[in-house]
């Protein structure tokens, strides 16, 4: 560390340090875990929150954007939310504490705090790299979460819905998930605010997809208008595994959603679809890294962003193809509809390719509503407002419909429609 670069501590940084000190007694962990926690807080104290000078945070100057940090507070009495998908089995975590982890056949669910208490979580808490601020904050404060183990060859008849609920204050959770070989199923991870009080939420999911598994994982971020949400999912894809990852952001005031994927088994197939609905004065950053380290894998990504009001959006997408990862087929697209003169979206796609026999490509577009389409609808008697809203919906429906599950599609479309109507 260069001492000259040390800046005065900001109010938010100080509040993070203070809330660590105040709550130290309540944070589970053996000596090793506590040492890690301590070192992360020390990092924050010494280095401060990342600024735009840190490349990974270039478009999200957290030091400036994070103005305050709510205190951790007491657990509120929170009812589980209505299921997104009727018939889903629900697991819930409330205010950073596993509340309902009743497992179903073939799925083992345990409270993550047990791993913290006995120290087995320590290895998992290692940072991705020195700029891993989400890992740092989560590591310092994580109280609980759910560890899920899905046994080999299980076919889930009903979706599993993980509800991560909070009632304001802080909530820090982690979800280590091991999907056994050949598993088939639909998993939904929802981040839901149950009140209007400010919150700082961090949540990390470690998703290990076993060989030959074929799963759909949905992350649905539905936080409140004043919430800060720091999310991260770390994915490892086994050989011949198929993953459809759907990431939706339709909430929060300051959001960083990181998606880190390593295609580590040959023949895997990743489909990543994202919908970001950004309104108000929010700032939402989706940062994705994908590493192809073995041959013969396919990955395709499409993000659709709708930006309104004074919202600001960021997409950083980096695909790395190692030299041995021949025959990789990797595509990435980021399409944005900018619907006001005051909103903004920055897209930074990056390809780093070291193999020669690959098909890789990316594209980013930023557009307004298509004038010809709008005129066509109006010429059929559909009024301006309705016509615009149809076209905005169409823009996102195109990616939602790829989910290939009627019930899920309908639920998400309804949620997005409500969001759009509320922000119209």
């Amino acid at each position: 560390m260069n001492m000259q670069s040390k800046k005065p501590i900001t109010a938010a940084e100080q509040l993070l340090v203070d809330s660590f000190v105040h709550n130290l007694g309540n944070l589970p962990g053996d000596g090793a875990v506590l040492t890690i926690r301590d070192s992360y807080i020390e990092d924050i104290k010494q280095r401060g929150l990342p600024t735009r000078r840190v490349e990974a945070w270039h478009y999200t100057d957290l030091r400036n954007l994070l103005k305050t940090v709510p205190s951790i507070g007491k657990s509120a009495d929170i009812e589980p939310a209505e299921r997104l998908i009727a018939g889903a089995n629900v697991i819930s975590v409330v205010d950073g504490h596993a509340a309902n982890i009743a497992a179903t056949g073939g799925v083992t669910a345990t409270a993550y705090r047990e791993d913290l208490s006995d120290g087995s979580a320590a290895a998992r808490m290692a940072l991705r790299n020195s700029d891993d601020l989400v890992g740092r904050i989560n590591g310092a404060f994580v109280t609980d979460g759910v560890k899920l183990q899905v046994e080999d060859d299980l076919v889930l008849d009903n979706p599993l819905e993980i509800q991560v609920l909070h009632g304001g204050g802080q909530a820090h959770t982690r979800f280590p998930v091991t999907i056994g070989k050949g598993v088939k199923g639909l998993f939904v991870e929802r981040h839901i605010s149950c009140c209007e009080e400010d919150a700082l939420v961090s949540s990390i999911t470690d998703l290990d997809v076993g060989d030959g598994a074929d799963i759909v994982w949905v992350i649905n971020q539905e936080q409140g208008l004043s919430d800060t949400h720091l999310g991260q999912i770390n994915i490892k894809l086994g050989a011949d595994a198929k993953l459809l990852l759907f990431v939706a952001n339709a909430g929060g005031k300051l959001v960083r959603q990181e998606i880190h994927i390593v295609a580590s088994g040959e023949g895997s197939e990743l489909t990543l679809r994202g919908v970001n609905l950004l309104g108000g004065e929010s700032h939402t950053d989706v940062t994705m890294t994908l590493e192809h380290i073995v041959p013969n894998c396919v990955s395709g990504q499409i993000f659709r962003n709708v930006v309104l009001d004074r919202a600001k959006g960021v997409f950083q997408g980096q695909i790395k193809v190692a030299q041995i990862a021949q025959k990789t087929d990797a595509k990435m697209a980021c399409n944005t509809l900018l619907l006001s003169d005051f909103c903004d979206f920055s897209a930074k796609p990056e390809l780093e390719i070291f193999a020669d026999d690959v098909q890789c490509g990316h594209g980013a577009t930023v557009t307004d509503i298509d004038k010809n389409q709008l005129f066509y609808l109006k010429a059929r008697g559909i009024g301006e407002k309705r016509a615009r809203s149809l076209l905005v919906k169409a823009f996102i429906v195109e990616v939602v419909e790829e989910l290939d599950n009627e019930v899920l599609i309908e639920a998400l479309e309804k949620q997005f429609e409500t969001w759009l109507n509320n922000h119209g």
């Binding site: 109006k378 010429a379 008697g381 016509a387 429906v397």
Partner: protein, 251 residues
Amino acid sequence: MLEIRNLHARIAEDGTEIIRGLNLTVKNGEVAAIMGPNGSGKSTLSYILTGRSDYEVTEGDILYDGQSILGMDTAERAAAGLFLAFQYPVEIPGVATMQFLKVAMNEQRKARGEDELTTPDFIRRVKAAAANLQIDMAMLKRPLNVGFSGGEKKRAEILQMSLLEPKLCVLDETDSGLDIDALKIVADGVNALRSPDRSFIVITHYQRLLEYIVPDSVHVLYKGQVIKSGDRQLALELESDGYANVIKDAA
């Protein structure tokens, strides 16, 4: 039905005048054909009739049932019974054709103070109209115009026209890109809608279409003006002699 009086209009963006003193009257139940060389302003006229904001009317008036429609926006004109079958129907990914049809029909009904259609009633109407035009219902589940062949797009336009039951239909080169079988289906669809209180403006390049949709009047549009009007015979003359004589006579 329609009276266009000394209409002048220009492109809003750069002020280029495209319609330069155009006069045209279409009576109730009349089928008026508009012919003219490429670039004479036929499509522009259809856009101005439907209120596209890329164009500005600088002089003259458009009376529809005796009332000026210049103050009405595109959707209001549609609800009042004006329909344009597009020369190039627009593809809209993400909007299923059925959903679009339902919204369009109901929005027009709402604007006229009528009740919305029930779903069974809606489906029944679509099925009947689609059958007449030999349109497969599977096609209507697809996104609007996306991946439709040229002929399918044109048939879909006529389907919309029959479902929306407009009073004044403007068909912009509905025959272009159609083979003879598709042309007959489309023409039959149009003819089935002919009635004493529904009028048509059929814009076309070729007299071929007018063998199937027989017009009551034929007008030649050139450089933004109607330079000659006549009956069916005029279309045949244009077909054999080209536009040169008509243009020379008008000059």
